[in-house]
Amino acid sequence: MPLDKQRHLRYWQRCHRTLLPTQYTSHDSTRMALAFFIIAAIDLISPPTSSGEPPYLTRKDRSKIRSWVLSLQHPGGGFCGSPTHASPAEARKHTAQQTGTANLAATYFALLLLALAAEGDGRHALDGVNRRETLRWLRRLQRQDGSFGEVVLDDGSIAGGRDMRYCYLAAVIRWCLRGDAKEGAGAWVEDIDVDGLVEHIRCGQTFDGGVSESSQHEAHAGYAYCAVGALYMLGRPLEKDGEPEENGPLDRGIPHFDALVKFLVDRQFAFLESPQGHGDDSEDDQDSVNFALPSALEDLSLEENTTFVGFNGRCNKVADTCYCWWVGGTLSVNILSVQPARNFLLSKTQHLIGGFSKYPGGPPDIYHSYLGLAALATMGDATLKGFDAPLCVSAETVRKLEAARRVLVASDEARGTWAAKSRSTADAFWKGKEPVWVDKEIDADTRERLRQALHALR
């Protein structure tokens, strides 16, 4: 069964243009994530820019996405997860009343959304992002043990569990914004504790080779992706053709790489139809239905086109669309059973109305629909755009992020240099030396009065 692009496009356009059903209310706090999945999916099924065909997102769509995302930027750095968590526009103007709270995941999705919405080569994608404040806020989210929380409270305390997902999100935000400014340069912002983060991730590997939420918990494919993704992003060169460093974070952060590969490979299993058949959507009996074992090992055959290979997230759990992505995205796919895995997605969880469901026979939802596409794209589906697994977006979008970072860092460099200059001027003033005034900023009259004031101080 092929990927029915038109049907998926209709599914995503419905999600984009109309209100999401009431059932999504429990996702109100993560609307930035939903928006990302919707827009990234439309981008992924759009014809590549090089084809010259018009993309499915219009110029107007793009400018609306941009202004919505930027409206959720928090004045103290980072982005809020939804309008529910943002300060109202009125309060933002006066910055007196802070009703909003920035969130780590929302910030990651916001930056990627801005890149997805960018026109042309994307160099202006990140214009309007408060790079310095966001990077400083990111530092405040890191704990002594190297882990990250998701929210910083007014009193400076860090909220959120010790969760491998936060490690990944932090590493991506740092890669998107920080650049390679050296200490003392105008665009320099103090870095997070990279070694502490790597060490924290290292502790997450489990006895069976997988990676858990944090040290000693159960191994889980989603956390494995986050760990590997985080380490990769920490060492990722800033530009496409940059050189990765020797003995980088990836080598240091996964003590037993072979065991991790084994863990991920083990997440595949033959998806067998249960003899009773199953037409209902109830999740209760998915455990028994979905993870049916063959009655004898001899019964396992592997005909490329008739077999379905599902992926689970943990040992002895059921197949779920999104783990095709979490596993496939982490591993180089050539050691996975690509064709049967495609079969599973396209014949078992691809839905009649477009999108993908979590389990065979279930209704589609935004999250699984995007990760289903992402899994197919990582397996090299020719009808989708080239994919960047560590960032979970089209490779095109990553190029835009790189271009936008260059522009953003350069503008911070210019501003930073000026700020440094005026700072040194102020220092000279208070040390009582003959001041060097910044031209244009202070007129002759004021300058004279300041000079007199200085003399009076002596």
């Binding site: 009431t22 995302v69 309008p83 709270t101 929210v151 590997q205 006895f207 159960e218 033959a270 040992c315």
Partner: protein, 529 residues
């Protein structure tokens, strides 16, 4: 003064002559209006039909008199004394109506739409009248309500400015009046909904929330991933935003957080806010945990709930430790374990619950035989429960009394006693024998061997029990567990028997685990290199 119109029998006769034939009773309010229009505008219908010049001279006279009548009454047109008298004589004779419905009223008046979007003018006259009464009632209630709000505000002002003791107008409202206004708002809400389909939120209806100005979220045109919120969600959120900004910690805000959580348990700051309220009001932690239990059972996959529980546990633990309250500690351990048993009954592999269980063990030092036995019973019930296997590994190998702090999960730990390693090897083998194709037990076995720095070969004999005649051809080759085959392949690698290892890997790729054929071939290449 115009003389009083005398209705003589003659005039009646004349009127009945000029009047249109009796119309049937009106079906709608609009029809009634039209009828009233023609009743109060004599000859108008005829004129519309035949034009002014088509009317008989008498009709024309009547029509013109009726037309001028209101203008003359309102003195917009002044007549000479004589004409005036003549005019009124005529009016009296014809019994012309002094007031009449204007043309604009008949043609253009819009009554508005009801809550179903229907034109109110199309209602039956009875329904229309009922509606008008309701509107009047609502207007009266609104007047009383705004008086109540105003009095309350004034009383509030007096509180802040004690110097100004003005008058009775500043008297605060009584509890009875508050209750009365609450009832009033209930009725107003019902009327608004009935008349206009407008929803009056629960908080707007509650006098207790009058002092809070809600802060609604901005939802500009083109907002992404907008959700069709249930009616009360947006209102509750706008009140939550207001009280969070004002940093109010009170019983009513505690109730508000409960409401918001029931609608959106993944709200990432309402939980933190709730925890602050619990702290600020110094509420009983066991009560809060009791409440949380129910919410947890209703939201099995929620992440924030467990974070909240973690915060409560840390807070409470610090409290009772400071008081050296051993009883309370024991009680806490018991009630937490009891709840975990309950919620794991719902989903024995719930990731959040097992994660929390680990932190509970660390916090309360539950490195006990009871905890081990409880975990074991999960494995006895379902030998494939990988979550329980992981918890067992944690209990055995992270116990501070018998392990090296910070030792990595895959590292050899010399602090673990040999007997413990023996016991765990035995346990894993016993369970693997029960269900040879269950990978959880095999993984555990490998994990234990690594902790004890024992070679895989020490379990070679065990693994060999599930495998026969590998590579000896169809019929002779029997494999009861592909995991045993993998285990043995690794044993051969460990022993440096590359060819044997390659054979086993080939058999996995070809026959016993073809799904991972790519991986087994990759392993073969690694060995050859």
């Amino acid at each position: 003064m115009p003389p009083k119109a005398k209705v003589s029998s003659k005039a009646k006769e004349a009127a009945s002559k000029t009047k249109e034939p009796e119309a049937p009773p009106p079906k709608t309010a609009n029809e009634r209006t039209a009828q009233r229009y023609y009743q109060t505008n004599p000859c108008e219908k005829r004129r519309e039909e035949v034009g002014l010049h088509g009317l008989t001279p008498t009709e024309r006279q009547t029509w013109a008199n009726a037309f001028f009548l209101p203008l003359i009454v309102s003195k917009e047109v002044l007549l000479s004394h004589k004409s005036d008298r003549e005019f009124w004589k005529q009016v009296g004779k014809e019994s012309l109506p002094v007031r009449r419905l204007s043309r604009a009223r008949k043609q253009h008046h819009a009554w508005g739409r009801d809550r179903h979007g229907r034109d109110v003018g199309e209602l039956s006259p009875e329904d229309f009248d009922r509606r008008s009464l309701q509107q009047a009632r609502l207007a009266a209630l609104e007047a009383l309500h705004s008086r109540f709000v105003q009095r309350r505000e004034l009383a509030g002002l007096r509180l802040t400015r004690p110097g100004s003791s003005d008058s009775a107008a500043h008297e605060d409202v009584t509890p009875e009046e508050v209750e009365e206004d609450r009832q009033r708002r209930k009725e107003m809400a019902a009327l608004k909904s009935e008349l206009y389909g407008e929803k009056m939120g629960t908080y707007a209806q509650d006098p207790e929330w009058d002092d809070v100005t809600p802060i609604p979220a901005d939802e500009p045109e083109g907002a992404l991933a907008a959700i069709a919120y249930p009616d009360d969600y947006a209102e509750a959120i706008s009140y939550l935003r207001a009280v969070m900004a004002a940093e109010e910690y009170s019983p009513r805000t505690l109730r508000l957080t409960e409401h918001v959580i029931s609608l959106n348990a993944a709200h990432y700051t309402v939980w933190l806010y709730r925890f602050k309220i619990v702290q600020a009001l110094d509420l009983s932690i066991p009560d809060e945990i009791e409440w949380l239990n129910q919410v947890s059972l209703e939201n099995l996959k929620n992440y924030q709930i467990w974070h909240h529980r973690q915060l409560l546990l840390d807070h409470y633990h610090a409290q009772i430790s400071a008081n050296a309250d051993a009883d309370a500690l024991k009680k806490l351990a018991r009630s937490e374990s009891e709840f975990l048993r309950l919620i794991l009954d719902e989903d024995t592999k719930n990731y959040h619950v097992w994660s929390y269980r680990q932190s509970l063990v660390r916090k309360l030092g539950l490195w006990t035989p009871q905890e081990l036995a409880a975990t074991q019973s999960f494995i006895e019930d379902d030998v494939r429960n990988n979550s329980a296997w992981h918890h067992r590994f944690f209990l055995v190998f992270c116990d501070p009394a018998a392990s090296t702090p910070g030792c990595h999960a895959t590292e050899h730990d010399p602090a673990v006693p040999a007997e413990t390693v023996d016991r765990e090897v035995r346990y894993a083998q016993e369970k693997a024998a029960l269900a040879p194709q269950n990978q959880a037990a095999w993984n555990y076995l490998r994990g234990v061997l690594a902790k004890g720095a024992r070679p895989l070969a020490s379990a070679e004999e065990f693994a060999a029990r599930f495998v026969e005649g590998v590579g000896e051809g169809e019929g002779r080759e029997k494999v009861r567990s592909s995991h045993a085959l993998v285990f043995l392949a690794d044993v051969w690698v460990e022993k440096g028997e590359k060819e044997k290892a390659a054979l086993y890997l080939s058999r996995l790729a070809e026959k016993w685990d073809p799904i991972r054929a790519g991986y087994w071939n990759y392993r073969k290449q690694q060995i050859a290199a």
